[in-house]
C-alpha cells in the first residue's frame, strides 16, 4: 500500500506537467495538423522570463500572468512565422519549421540567460507535506492541481464558449468553418495561442520544482509527445490519460530499486511504450494516408 502511495506521489508532478504539455500539443495538432516540436521551448522561454522578472522585483503572481501571456504570444509568433508560411509546402516542412523555431529559441535563451542550469523562481511557497512515509512538496502538488484547473478550464473554454466552438469546428473541417463565416486562419492562430499559454504554465511550474536549463526544459516535452500519442492526438481527455500512463511510468522507475540503478531507464521504457503504441496504431494512419492520396 505504502509503495503504491509512494509511486503515486512520485508520479504526480510529472503527470501534471506532461498532461498540460500534452493538452497543448493536442490543441495545436487538432487545429493545424502539425506536431509542435518547439512546444518545450515555448515553455522554457516563459519560465526564464518569469524567473528574470521575479529577480527584478516583480511579484511572482504578476510575473506568472505575464509569463503565461508571453507563452501565448510565442505560440502566435511560431505559428505565423514558422508554420503558416510552410503550409503550402508540406506537413513535414511545417514540422521542420517548428524544429527551426525550437533551435532558435534554445539558442537565444542560451545566449541571453546562459546555457548553465540555475534555480527558477518558486511559484508556490515551499512546504513539505508528509503522506505516510513519503513526502510531497507544495510545488509538486500545485503543479498537479494547476493541471486539473488547466484541463478543466480549457475543456470549458472549448466546450462552452463560442470561441471554443469556432476553434473546434475549424479543427474539424476548415472549409465548412469558412462557409459558416469563421476565418479558419484566425481560429488556428487561436489554438496556437492557447497551446503556447498552456505550455508556459507547465514550463513555469515545472521549472519551479526542478531547474532552469534552456535545453533540458525544452526536451521535457518529449514525454508529453508520447502521452499525446497514447491518447490518440485527438482529445484532451486522451492526452490526460496518456500523461497519467507516462507519468506513472516515470514514477515507477525511482520507486523500484532495481530499475533505478540503470541510467535512462525511464526514457527507455517510455520510448518503447511510444514505439509500441505507434506500431499498433500505425496501420490505420498509413491506410488513411493512402486513401487521401487518391
Amino acid at each position: 500500500m505504502s509503495s503504491l502511495v509512494r509511486l503515486l506521489l512520485l508520479s504526480l508532478p510529472n503527470i501534471g506537467a506532461y498532461a498540460i504539455f500534452a493538452i497543448g500539443i493536442v490543441v495545436i495538432f487538432r487545429a493545424s495538423k502539425v506536431l509542435n516540436v518547439a512546444h518545450g521551448a515555448m515553455a522554457m522561454v516563459p519560465a526564464y522570463l518569469v524567473t528574470w522578472m521575479n529577480k527584478g522585483g516583480v511579484p511572482i503572481a504578476v510575473a506568472f500572468v505575464l509569463g503565461v501571456l508571453s507563452g501565448g504570444l510565442l505560440g502566435l509568433v511560431v505559428e505565423r512565422l514558422f508554420v503558416r508560411p510552410l503550409r503550402q509546402v508540406s506537413v513535414t516542412a511545417q514540422t521542420v519549421g517548428t524544429v527551426a523555431a525550437l533551435g532558435l529559441m534554445v539558442a537565444l535563451a542560451g545566449k541571453v540567460w546562459g546555457t548553465g542550469t540555475e534555480k527558477a523562481a518558486a511559484v508556490f511557497p515551499d512546504h513539505v507535506l508528509r503522506v505516510g512515509s513519503s513526502s510531497l512538496r507544495t510545488g509538486q502538488l500545485g503543479l498537479f492541481l494547476v493541471m486539473l484547473a488547466v484541463a478543466g478550464g480549457l475543456t470549458a473554454l472549448l466546450q462552452l464558449t463560442d470561441i471554443g466552438l469556432a476553434m473546434r469546428g475549424a479543427a474539424d473541417n476548415r472549409r465548412a468553418a469558412s462557409l459558416m463565416g469563421v476565418d479558419p486562419d484566425v481560429a488556428i492562430s487561436g489554438a496556437w495561442v492557447l497551446g503556447g499559454a498552456t505550455a508556459a504554465v507547465a514550463g513555469i511550474l515545472l521549472a519551479a520544482i526542478t531547474n532552469l536549463n534552456p535545453l533540458t526544459l525544452s526536451l521535457q516535452a518529449i514525454p508529453a509527445f508520447v502521452a499525446a500519442l497514447i491518447g490518440g492526438l485527438g482529445s484532451l481527455f486522451g492526452a490526460v490519460v496518456g500523461a497519467a500512463i507516462v507519468g506513472g511510468t516515470t514514477g515507477l522507475v525511482p520507486a523500484i530499486a532495481s530499475l533505478q540503478q540503470v541510467q535512462g531507464m525511464q526514457q527507455l521504457l517510455l520510448g518503447l511504450v511510444a514505439l509500441a503504441v505507434m506500431a499498433m496504431r500505425g496501420e490505420r494512419y498509413v491506410a488513411t494516408d493512402v486513401r487521401n492520396g487518391l
Partner: protein, 742 residues
C-alpha cells in the same frame, strides 16, 4: 570534393547554350579549365601542409567532412525518399560507440573500424525503418525523435556501451591497420575523412542515377504510383534506411577517430536537429549541397571560435540559418549556382576586364601545357569546342565522378554510360504486318535488330502510324480473359460502396466502366488494383488469383494504371518519370548500382532506349527533359498513360483520363487509346465522358449505387433506357422499372 560541383554543373549545361549566344569575350579554354581544376585539386590535396593553415582550420575541415557525411545520409533518407528523421544523432552515436568498442575492445584499426561503425548505424536504422513502414509523416518524426532521445538518455549512458570511447582509443589496430599512416595525426586524418566522403558521394551519385535511386524518388513522389509501377515500397524504404544508417554510422566512426574520444553530448537530440539543419541548408536533396552546407557550418564554427565578439552566437546563427533557408530559400545552397548564374552574367561587363588577364594567362598556360603534353593535345582541346556543346548530354551520366574523370582525361577513362548520351535516331520499324506485340514497342535493343535497317518511317508519332485492325473472336466468351473481378463487395465502415460486382476484361479489348457520381467506380478500380480490400469476391489477373496480393505484385503481373488525380513524380522530368516505369524490367540490384557493374549499365542503357522509343512514339520529345511540375495538364495525362505503357503492362487501367481535358486533347487521347489497343494491350477505362467511352470501348459496364446496372456492347448499352435513367436520375421515380429492365 570535386563532385561538389556535380549538380550545379548539370544545371549550367541546360542554360549553357543560351548563355553562349551572348558571346562572352572572356572565357576559359578547355585546357585552361582543366588547368584550373587541377589547381583546385592540388590545393585540396596540399591543404593540410600549406604553411598558412592554422591548426583549428584543419580541425574544422575535418569536422566539415563529418557534417558532410551525416548530411549525405540525411539527403538519402529525407531528401530522396521523403522519410523525415529527427533522430540522426542516435545513429551517428551508435556508429561512434560501436567503433569505439571495436577499436578498444577488439583492437581493430582505423579503416576497418569504419565498417564497424557503418554496420552499427545500419543495425539501428533498419529497425527504425520497420517503424517507418507502419507510420509516416508526423508520426515518423516523433518516432525518430524518441529514438534519438532514448540514445541520449539511455544507450549513450550505459557504461558497457561507452567505456571504450570515453578514453582515448588508438586508431592503430593490432593487425589490420595500414602501417606508415598515423591516423591520429590531424593531417593524415584529413585525407582519410575526405576520402571517405568522396567515396560516399561517388556511391550515392551512382545510386541516385540508377534504378534504385529512381525508386527512392518514386516513393517520395507518390507511394501509390510507385507501387503501381511494380516498386516494392516497403523494401525501398528499408533499403533507404539501411543506406542512411550505414552512412550515419560511418560518420560516427569518423567523429570518434577524429577526436579519439567522444562524450554523449555529441549525440543529443539537439544534435539530431542540428544535423537536419545542415541537410536542409544544403538543399536536402543534393550531394553537392551537403558538402557546401557542411563547409558553411564548419566555417561558422571557425568564425565564431576566432572572433571574440561573436562568442556564444554560434548556435543562434546555426538556428537562424536553418530558419532563413527554410522560410525564404527552400532550395538551399544547391540552388545558389543556378540562381546566381544569370546575375553573374550581368556583372560580366564589370568583372571581365579585371579577369581578362588572369583568364588569358591561365588559358595560355593551359594551352602551353596541353601542347607540351604532346600528341594528345589537339584531341583534348577539340573534344568540346565551345560553340557546339551537345545539348543532349542532359541525360544524366551514371556516375558523376566517372563522367568528370572522363572529361578530365579527355575520354581515356570512359564514362560508362556515354553511349546513351547522344540521342541516336531510333530505328523503330514500321508496324509489322502481323499483329504487333508490345514487345516491339517496349523491347530490348537486341530484339529490335530484326527491324528493317534504315527504313524511312523509322519513328512515327502514334497518330501517324497506320493501325492494323485488331483481330478478336466475335464471341466475347471465346476471348482469353486477362482480368476478372467476381462478386466484389467493398465496404467502408457501414457504407457499401460495391455490392457483388463482377466484370471481366478480355485480351485486346477496351472495356468501359461508367456510372453516375458516387456509383462506386473508383472503389471497384482500387479493389482491382489492390488499394482496398474487398469484403467478398475474388480478383484474377491472367488466370491467377491476386485477391490478397499487394499492389506492386499485381503490377509485376502486367497491370498498369493511371490515376484520376494525376500521380506523376512532380520533381522529376518526363524522361525520368518514364524511366521509373522500367523498374520491373531491370534485373539488377542495389549493389550492382553502387558499383556500376557492366550488367547494371547495360540494363540502364536498355531502359533509356525503351523510354526514348516511347517518347518518340507519343511525340513527347519537346517536353522530355522538362520537370513534370512545370507542364500543362493535358500533357501530364499523356505522360501518365505513357508511363503505364513503358511498364510493358498487358492491361492498362485508366481512371478518368479525359477529365480536365479539352475537346482537342480528348480526341488525341481517344487516338492514343486506340493505338494502345492496336498493340494488343487491353484497357479498362473509367470515364464520365459517356460519349468518349462509347466511342472507344468494345464493351461497357454500368455501375449505379455500387451495383452493376447493365453490361453489353458499348453502342447498345449507352442507349439502354435504364442506363439513361440512371444518369438523369429518373431512377428515383422509376427505380423498380429500371431494376426490372436489367
Amino acid at each position: 570534393m570535386s563532385a561538389a560541383a556535380v549538380s550545379p554543373r548539370r544545371t549550367e549545361r541546360v542554360t549553357g547554350s543560351a548563355a553562349s549566344t551572348e558571346a562572352p569575350t572572356v572565357r576559359l579554354s578547355v585546357a585552361g579549365r582543366r588547368l584550373g581544376l587541377v589547381g583546385v585539386l592540388a590545393f585540396v590535396l596540399a591543404f593540410p601542409y600549406l604553411p598558412f593553415v592554422p591548426f583549428s582550420v584543419l580541425g574544422n575541415a575535418n569536422v566539415a567532412a563529418q557534417y558532410a557525411l551525416v548530411s549525405i545520409s540525411l539527403v538519402v533518407l529525407v531528401g530522396w525518399v521523403g522519410q523525415i528523421s529527427l533522430g540522426h544523432a542516435g545513429m551517428v552515436g551508435v556508429g561512434a560507440y560501436v567503433t569505439g568498442m571495436a577499436m578498444g575492445g577488439l583492437h581493430v584499426g582505423f579503416p576497418v573500424s569504419l565498417l564497424w561503425g557503418a554496420a552499427g548505424g545500419m543495425a539501428v536504422a533498419v529497425p527504425l525503418g520497420v517503424v517507418a513502414l507502419r507510420v509516416r509523416g508526423l508520426y515518423l518524426a516523433v518516432a525518430t525523435l524518441i529514438f534519438s532521445w532514448i540514445g541520449q538518455e539511455f544507450l549513450f549512458r550505459q557504461e558497457w556501451f561507452t567505456k571504450h570511447s570515453s578514453i582515448q582509443v588508438s586508431p592503430v589496430g593490432k593487425w589490420d591497420t595500414i602501417p606508415y599512416f598515423p591516423w591520429d595525426d590531424r593531417k593524415v586524418f584529413y585525407y582519410a575523412a575526405w576520402a571517405t566522403v568522396v567515396l560516399a558521394i561517388y556511391l550515392m551519385a551512382n545510386l541516385r542515377d540508377s534504378k534504385t535511386g529512381r525508386s527512392f524518388f518514386a516513393v517520395r513522389g507518390s507511394e501509390v504510383a510507385a507501387a503501381s509501377l511494380g516498386i516494392d515500397v516497403m523494401r525501398t524504404k528499408l533499403a533507404a534506411f539501411a543506406v542512411s544508417g550505414l552512412l550515419a554510422g560511418a560518420a560516427g566512426s569518423l567523429i570518434l577517430v577524429g577526436q579519439q574520444t567522444v562524450t554523449p553530448d555529441a549525440f543529443t537530440v539537439e544534435r539530431s536537429l542540428f544535423f537536419l539543419a545542415v541537410a536542409v541548408v544544403g538543399g536536402l536533396s543534393s550531394l553537392g549541397g551537403s558538402v557546401a552546407a557542411a563547409f558553411v557550418f564548419a566555417f561558422l564554427n571557425e568564425a565564431f571560435f576566432r572572433v571574440k565578439a561573436f562568442e556564444g552566437y554560434l548556435t543562434v546563427a546555426s538556428a537562424a540559418l536553418l530558419a532563413i533557408v527554410l522560410l525564404l530559400y527552400r532550395g538551399g545552397l544547391a540552388q545558389v549556382p543556378a540562381d546566381l548564374a544569370p546575375r553573374l552574367r550581368r556583372l560580366r561587363v564589370f568583372v571581365d576586364p579585371v579577369l581578362a588577364p588572369v583568364v588569358s594567362w591561365t588559358n595560355r598556360l593551359g594551352d602551353g601545357l596541353a601542347r607540351w603534353v604532346g600528341a594528345h593535345a589537339n584531341r583534348l582541346r577539340g573534344r568540346l569546342p565551345s560553340g557546339e556543346r551537345p545539348t543532349e548530354v542532359v541525360i544524366q551520366s551514371p556516375s558523376a565522378l566517372l563522367a568528370l574523370l572522363s572529361r578530365l582525361t579527355g575520354g581515356r577513362i570512359k564514362a560508362p554510360r556515354a553511349v546513351v548520351r547522344t540521342e541516336a535516331p531510333l530505328d523503330l520499324g514500321p508496324p509489322k504486318d502481323e499483329e504487333p506485340e508490345l514487345a516491339s514497342i517496349v523491347s530490348l535493343p537486341m530484339n529490335r535488330q530484326s527491324a528493317e535497317p534504315g527504313s524511312v518511317a523509322s519513328v512515327l508519332p502514334f497518330n501517324q502510324v497506320e493501325r492494323k485492325p485488331v483481330v478478336m473472336a466475335a464471341d466475347r466468351d471465346e476471348r482469353r480473359v486477362v482480368l476478372a473481378a467476381e462478386g466484389i463487395t467493398v465496404r467502408f465502415g457501414g457504407l457499401v460502396a460495391n455490392e457483388d460486382v463482377s466484370l471481366k476484361v478480355c485480351e485486346g479489348e477496351v472495356v468501359g466502366l461508367i456510372g453516375p457520381n458516387g456509383a462506386g467506380k473508383t472503389t471497384l478500380f482500387n479493389a482491382i488494383a489492390g488499394l482496398n480490400e474487398p469484403a467478398a469476391g475474388r480478383i484474377e489477373l491472367f488466370g491467377q488469383d491476386v485477391t490478397g496480393l499487394p499492389v506492386h505484385h499485381r503490377a509485376l503481373l502486367g497491370v498498369g494504371r493511371t490515376f484520376q488525380a494525376i500521380q506523376l513524380f512532380a520533381q522529376l522530368s518526363v524522361f525520368d518519370n518514364l524511366l521509373v516505369a522500367t523498374h520491373q524490367h531491370n534485373p539488377t540490384g542495389m549493389l550492382a548500382h553502387l558499383a556500376v557493374t557492366p550488367a547494371s549499365l547495360a540494363a540502364e542503357a536498355e531502359a533509356r532506349q525503351t523510354v526514348q522509343r516511347v517518347i518518340r512514339l507519343l511525340d513527347l520529345r519537346d517536353v522530355a527533359h522538362r520537370r513534370v511540375a512545370d507542364l500543362p495538364f493535358g500533357v501530364l495525362r499523356m505522360v501518365e498513360v505513357a508511363r503505364a505503357l513503358v511498364t510493358g503492362a498487358k492491361v492498362i487501367m485508366l481512371d478518368e483520363p479525359a477529365s480536365g481535358l479539352d475537346n482537342n486533347e480528348t480526341d488525341r487521347l481517344v487516338e492514343l487509346i486506340r493505338f494502345i489497343r492496336s498493340l494488343g494491350v487491353s484497357i479498362l477505362l473509367i470515364e464520365h465522358d459517356v460519349k468518349m467511352v462509347t466511342n472507344v470501348s468494345d464493351h461497357l459496364y454500368v455501375l449505379d449505387r455500387g451495383r452493376l446496372l447493365a453490361e453489353g456492347p458499348a453502342f447498345l448499352v449507352a442507349q439502354d433506357e435504364a442506363v439513361v435513367a440512371a444518369y438523369l436520375g429518373r431512377a428515383v421515380e422509376h427505380g423498380a422499372a429500371a431494376e426490372a429492365g436489367r
